[in-house]
Amino acid sequence: MTMRPPLTNLPILLEDVSFVVRDVTILDRIDLMLTPGAPTVVIGPNGAGKTTLLRLAMGLIRPTSGRVTWGGRTDAPADRRAIVFQRPVMLRRSAEANLRYALAAADVPSTEHESRVRELLALVGLASLGGRPARKLSGGEQQRLALARALAKDPQVLFLDEPTASLDPAATQSVEDLIRDVAARGIKVVMSTHDLGEARRLAGDVVLMHRGRIVETNNATAFFSNPKTSEASRFVTGQLLV
């Protein structure tokens, strides 16, 4: 990886943000600041608004009201923010070609493509599968390739939407190891999950969402040992939030 420039995308600030689709409120007056440091894990039951929050923070969608700023700017380009979706779509070409495509989209000079492709494949443990059609890879391998594709942007912030939701334990472990590796490189990771165990293993900070609102924000140790709200207490103890 190259030396990182200043984190111009951080902090990401969501101020009184709401997102409404056809009179259905998906996010309701959210205030949140994402700062450099350990991974921020957004947890909550299905339908809590986790994915929409990540898309807003990524800049893929605009809030119905309120505002989102990146490093103090509302118009910061998204070229140093990347996202991996819950079900990443592989382009119909080889794993290597998927990475070359992402590098080209990120305006990386073509002379650097081959070395970067090798570097990224090695990073995600797919060095021996570079020539294989991406859609023929297993779910875990596709998820890791999607991570490599996101890293092709050399991002300052990486959003991960339930990155292990459909993976078996072995594949989950390899993806979690990769997330730790990415975070250790100084990339701000913001990920969503409804898996409490995963949140315990990876989170530096926790954001608990329920019904489109942020219920509690805290550092992971405090959140799990001494939750402040009744919803957080119930969620941490494995009770259902409905």
């Binding site: 382009l91 070409r93 989209a105 059609p133």
Partner: protein, 230 residues
């Protein structure tokens, strides 16, 4: 054309007149498919990705144009290319070029409409990823056309099938001139009306074989490509 011979004898003997007709038919239809693809694929992709007032109406009209009657297209091109028409100065009426123009107009909407549907489906799948990678509209169109290439083969085949089988447009703008603008379909129509059934049947057999072979080649290409590209 020799007389008192069967259709099979004509085909197997490699009758030069018969194969000249086959050659011209292929040149006209494949040229039309190529030209219509150059117009129809990008237009279909653009329509799939764009959002503007009246888009739904444009899609309905494009789909309706798939059913353009060949004789109407032939008449339109005839009026355009006739000496007193706006494109009369081109001087290509009753030439193979005129037939290519007519067939291009006939099949471009077919290719565009089928491409629009294919690309729109693929866009729904790819949109988030391409937007997350900051790929612009033009880059997205190119990506979707490339990744949808095997499905788009079906659109080209539909266009080829229509071009190879139609008779109304090419007979109006080509004139069915022996040795110059006579195609398989116009020859079949003419020879049947004259009662020369062996030649008509021979041409019919070749036409069907060609259509089957082209479809088989496209199918094989698609399966091979899908296996290699995933």
């Amino acid at each position: 054309m020799p007389e008192n011979v069967s259709a099979l004898q004509l085909v197997l003997a490699g009758d030069p007149a018969l194969y000249a007709i086959v050659r011209l038919s292929l040149i006209v239809s494949l040229s039309a498919v190529l030209l219509a693809a150059l117009v129809g694929l990008p237009f279909g992709a653009w329509l799939a990705l764009s959002r503007f007032r009246g888009r739904e109406g444009a899609i309905v009209i494009l789909n309706a144009l798939m059913g353009l009657p060949p004789v109407v297209v032939g008449l339109l091109v005839f009026l355009l290319l006739s000496r007193s028409g706006p494109l009369g100065s081109w001087g290509i009426l009753f030439t193979p070029q005129a037939m290519i123009v007519a067939q291009t107009i006939l099949i471009a909407p077919i290719i565009a409409a089928l491409a629009r549907q294919t690309i729109e489906d693929l866009w729904l799948e790819y949109r988030d990823e391409l937007q997350a990678m900051n790929v612009g509209t033009l880059g997205s169109v190119v990506t979707l056309l490339w990744d949808g290439r095997f499905s788009l083969l079906t659109a080209l085949l539909a266009g080829f099938g229509r071009a190879a089988a139609e008779v109304g447009a090419v007979i109006i703008v080509g004139g069915n001139i022996d040795g110059f603008t006579r195609t398989m379909t116009t020859a079949i129509a003419l020879e049947t009306s004259k009662g020369d059934l062996p030649l008509a049947i021979g041409l019919g057999m070749i036409l069907i074989v060609i259509v089957v072979l082209v479809n088989a080649a496209a199918w094989g290409t698609r399966r091979f490509g899908e296996r290699m590209a995933g």
